[in-house]
Each structure stands twice: as structure tokens, then as C-alpha cells.
């Protein structure tokens, strides 16, 4: 009896330690990456890095202004394309779905979410780049936009499902039509969850490299308009990191740091915006 008690206590203590240790590793990995980025990239980060074009090999200095703008344009295009489709699809699933069709949509969205990003790149390459016969911001934005749809659908659906039935009934009881109820009560009530999900969605595709390699390609110069190949931060990180030059490696770290910072800033700004609005 005594032995069994001791054993139980030991197992209990052991399992507790294991879960705590794994939690610590999770947090540790994130902080290690952050610290390593700042350590390696921080020294190459300068005003010039943010405002200048890349310099040719061997020449010191230069920056990635074109890649920063390029990434912003790609994300803007991807969001303009992926968010409305994903959002409205999610509204349909949560509010209008019957049985069979929503099941198919949900299942397809999950499958789409699991499609490797490089396959998404080939898709955009085939339907946009080949017919147009050149790489472009447009093709890259489309590839990223398609990748955004499944997460936008599912996070919107889940956020809307958390809105209590009594709120919907309250609006319907006042003579609001179903669409009006959704637009003026349900979606505003779920705003926080929807915005958070969509920010995470943007953050996820912001770091995608594979689909951009043969859609947006890359560019050493500015890329005006939407119809030319463009540089982007993840592709720059990739190109510079596999190069044999030391100062390019440092610039790759700096580009990684800029990418992470932009994503974090967007994330915090969106959350502040949402919590500020719900105070009323």
C-alpha cells in the first residue's frame, strides 16, 4: 500500500514536470528565434536598409526598400482577393448552411488549407504567369490570396458561431431581416475573433516564400504597378541566405527581422483597434 502511494506520487510528479518542461521549450524556442534574429540582423539594420535598393555583389551597404514595398503590395493584393471571399464564405457556413453543401465547403476548405504552398505557386504559375508570359506582383498576390481563403473561411465561421443565439433572436424580434441581423448585430459582435483570425492569416502568408518563387519572382529594382516581377522579403531572405557572401547573410537576417517586426506591429495594431472599438 505504501509502495503504491509512493509510486502514484512519483508518476504524478513526473508527468507534471514533463508538461512544464515542454511548455518551457515552446516558449524558449520562440524567444531563441527572436533573440537570434535581433542579434544577427540588428547590426545590419539601418535607415539605409529600409530606404535603399540592393547593391551589386561586393559593394557594401544598400538595402531592401523594394522588397519591403513589394511584400506590402503582395499582401495588399492577397488580402483584397482572399479576405472578402473567405469572410463571405464563412458567413454562409455559419449562418445559412443547410447540411450537405456546407459539409462539402468545410471539407474542401480544410483540404485547401493542407495544400502545400509550392503547389499553390504552380497553380498561380499555370493560370496567370504562363498566359501572361511574365512574372508579376499580380500572380504572386493571387497565389497568396488563394492561400488565405481557407483560414479566413474557418476563422470567420468559428467566430460567428460563438455569438449567442439570443442576440440574433433579439434583432429578429425587432423586425430585422436575417441579412440585416447578420450585418448589424452578429458580425459586429464577432468582430474581435474575425479580425484576430484574419491578422493571423495575413501573418501566415506574409512569410510564404515557395509560392512567390515562380509567380512574383524577384527584382533588384523597384517594381511599379502590378504587372512586373517584384522583390519580396521572404524571397530576399531565401536568395541572400543561400548566397556565399557574408554581408548578404547579415542582410538576410535583417530582412527576417523586418518581416517579423512588420507582422508583429500589424498584429498589435489590429488588436488595439478592435479592443478600442468594443469599448462602445
Amino acid at each position: 500500500m505504501l509502495w503504491r502511494n509512493t509510486r502514484r506520487k512519483f508518476v504524478n510528479y513526473f508527468m507534471f514536470s514533463m508538461t512544464g518542461l515542454c511548455a518551457l521549450v515552446t516558449v524558449g524556442v520562440l524567444f531563441f528565434i527572436l533573440g537570434y534574429l535581433v542579434w544577427n540582423g540588428g547590426s545590419s539594420l539601418s535607415w539605409a536598409f529600409l530606404t535603399h535598393l540592393p547593391t551589386p555583389v561586393g559593394e557594401r551597404g544598400g538595402g531592401m526598400a523594394n522588397a519591403i514595398v513589394g511584400s506590402a503590395k503582395l499582401l495588399l493584393l492577397a488580402s483584397a482577393f482572399g479576405i472578402p471571399i473567405g469572410f463571405l464564405g464563412g458567413v454562409y457556413l455559419a449562418e445559412f448552411g443547410g447540411r450537405a453543401f456546407p459539409f462539402v465547403v468545410r471539407y474542401t476548405a480544410d483540404l485547401l488549407n493542407g495544400v502545400p504552398s509550392i503547389v499553390m505557386g504552380i497553380f498561380a504559375y499555370t493560370i496567370v504567369v504562363l498566359p501572361m508570359k511574365h512574372f508579376s506582383t499580380f500572380a504572386g498576390g493571387l497565389a497568396l490570396g488563394v492561400m488565405m481563403i481557407p483560414i479566413a473561411v474557418r476563422t470567420t465561421e468559428e467566430a460567428l458561431r460563438t455569438v449567442p443565439l439570443v442576440l440574433r433572436e433579439g434583432a429578429l424580434a425587432l423586425g430585422a431581416s436575417k441579412w440585416k441581423t447578420i450585418a448589424t448585430v452578429v458580425v459586429p459582435a464577432a468582430r474581435k475573433g474575425i479580425v484576430t483570425g484574419i491578422i493571423l492569416d495575413i501573418a501566415r502568408v506574409a512569410g510564404e516564400t515557395a509560392p512567390l518563387l515562380f509567380t512574383a519572382f524577384s527584382n533588384r529594382f523597384w517594381s511599379p504597378g502590378w504587372n512586373q516581377p517584384t522583390a519580396s522579403l521572404p524571397v530576399m531572405v531565401y536568395t541572400y541566405a543561400i548566397s556565399p557572401y557574408d554581408d548578404w547573410h547579415k542582410q538576410a537576417w535583417a530582412a527576417g527581422l523586418v518581416l517579423l517586426t512588420l507582422v508583429l506591429v500589424a498584429n498589435v495594431a489590429a488588436k488595439l483597434f478592435v479592443s478600442g472599438r468594443t469599448a462602445h
Binding site: L167, G170, A171, A173, L174, G175, A279
Partner: protein, 277 residues
């Protein structure tokens, strides 16, 4: 006032106004809603059986009965709110001002028949926007008229003095009782002819409950009220007429006084005296 008596069972109360009993009918002018032979089904499961009942204009009607007896379901047929539940259907006839209620456009119907729910359900908006919601849905575009209407509704719900300086604060900042009065004000803002209340005080403390009851009493000149309640004292205090539901059937319907003092059915008496339910 003419009273056509069927089966000699109609009643006349002290003021000489016609009341009604199970078999009775009264002058058409005085009947706001006339329910006959109402059956209700959730899928294959029948939950209401042949309900007959007449709701009189500008009176308070209370519906009592144990949990699951169908009184809330009945209330939800009167504004067709049951339609949000898939496979729910009502059969029979409900005349609302002599119009077939079950054939009306539900959105148009709900603008005339308001509802207050068991738990306060203010929208996550400001106090002002909560009250203005129904008006805006009905096409009001703001301005002085809207402000005036919001104030009037809050006054009718006896909430104006408590919130007049914080109209633009979130409705969630109010206490539970205030939230429920806000929901009543929100329903009143669109000037409904009938107001349905589904256990409006069950989530409130006795003081908040007393305020709501006072409010209901003051509303009866302007609006026909139908209240579902678990609280028999509440029915006795506020209602002119009371209906007792049991297992999906309307067992007895009469003047409140009669239901509580000299019920005709044994089931009613057993419930009133606390022998079950």
C-alpha cells in the same frame, strides 16, 4: 359592448368588461389574438396540442406551468420566432387583428409583435444604439426625431433618469435589471401592438423584478402584454388573465383571480398549491 356567449361559459369581470373562459368568445374588437386548434411540432415530436385561447387588447395575460409544458413554445408561435429552429412547425389558426398570423410575412409581423427574452440580451452597442436599432431597421435615418423617440422609449421603460448621462456608453455596463429594462425599451421603441415577455425576470433579483413588474403594469394602457412566468406570485400580481399549461395542453384559461382562487380543474389547483411542478 356586446358579448356573444358560447356555451354560456363567458365571464364578465367587475368593470363589466367581457372576460373569457375556455369555451367563451367576446366581441371581436377586444380580441387582439385568437388562437384556435394550435398544434406544434419539433420534427416528429408534438409539443402543443389543440390550444385555444384569446388574448384581449391592452390587457396583461400570463402563461404559467411547469418547465417543458409548452408555454414558451406557445409564446414563440405568436411572433413566429420558432422559425429559427429547423423542422419546427405550427398548425392551426392564429388570428391577429383578424389577419392570419401564420401566413403573414414574419419580418412584418415582428415589427408589430415585440419580444423580451429570458436573459437580458442587449446588443454589444451603446445604450442609444440599442434603443435606436429597431427604429433604424424600420428606416429611421437619425436626427432629432430618432433622439426624441429614444428618450421617449427609455422614459416608458423607467430607465431614462438612470442612463440619460451615459447614452453613448456600452449597454453591457448596465446592471442585469437595467439591461432587461433596456431590452423592454428597445422593444417598445418600435411601438409594438403586442409585447411578448418570456420569463423576463428569471435572471433578476427581487428588487429588479419589482421594477419590471411596475413597468409592465404601467404599459398595459398602451400595449397588449403576454408574459410567460415561472413565478406564480408574479402572475397573480400583474396579470388580468392567466393560462395554465401542462404537457403541451392549455388546461385552464380565465381571469387571474379565478385561476388562483377557484380553479375549475384539479391539475390547476394542484399546481397552484404546489403539489407538483
Amino acid at each position: 359592448m356586446t358579448t356573444s356567449e358560447a356555451g354560456g361559459a363567458a365571464l364578465v369581470n367587475q368593470e363589466g368588461r367581457p372576460a373569457q373562459s375556455l369555451g367563451g368568445t367576446v366581441a371581436a374588437d377586444d380580441v387582439k389574438m385568437r388562437v384556435s386548434g394550435l398544434d406544434f411540432y419539433y420534427g416528429p415530436k408534438q409539443t402543443l396540442f389543440g390550444v385555444n385561447l384569446q388574448v384581449l387588447t391592452n390587457r396583461i395575460t400570463a402563461l404559467i406551468g411547469p418547465s417543458g409544458c409548452g408555454k414558451s413554445t406557445f409564446l414563440r408561435t405568436l411572433n413566429r420566432m420558432y422559425e429559427t429552429v429547423p423542422h419546427a412547425r405550427a398548425e392551426g389558426e392564429i388570428l391577429f387583428d383578424n389577419e392570419d398570423l401564420l401566413a403573414m410575412d414574419p419580418v412584418a409581423l415582428r415589427r408589430r409583435v415585440g419580444m423580451v427574452f429570458q436573459r437580458p440580451n442587449p446588443f454589444p452597442k451603446s445604450i442609444f444604439d440599442n434603443i435606436a436599432y429597431g427604429l433604424r431597421v424600420n428606416g429611421s435615418h437619425g436626427g432629432a426625431a430618432l433622439k426624441e423617440k429614444v428618450e421617449k422609449s427609455l422614459r416608458r421603460a423607467a430607465l431614462w433618469d438612470e442612463v440619460k448621462d451615459q447614452l453613448h456608453k456600452s449597454a453591457y455596463a448596465l446592471s442585469g435589471g437595467q439591461q432587461q429594462r433596456l431590452c423592454i425599451a428597445r422593444a417598445l421603441a418600435v411601438d409594438p401592438e403586442v409585447l411578448l415577455l418570456d420569463e423576463p425576470c428569471s435572471a433578476l433579483d427581487p428588487i429588479a423584478t419589482a421594477k419590471i413588474e411596475e413597468l409592465l403594469y404601467s404599459l398595459q394602457d398602451q400595449c397588449t402584454l403576454i408574459i410567460v412566468t415561472h413565478n406564480m406570485q408574479q402572475a397573480a400580481r400583474v396579470a388580468d388573465f392567466t393560462g395554465f399549461f401542462l404537457l403541451g395542453k392549455l388546461i385552464e384559461y380565465n381571469k387571474t383571480e379565478i385561476i388562483f382562487k377557484t380553479p375549475a380543474k384539479k391539475e390547476t389547483e394542484d399546481y397552484i398549491t404546489g403539489r407538483f411542478g
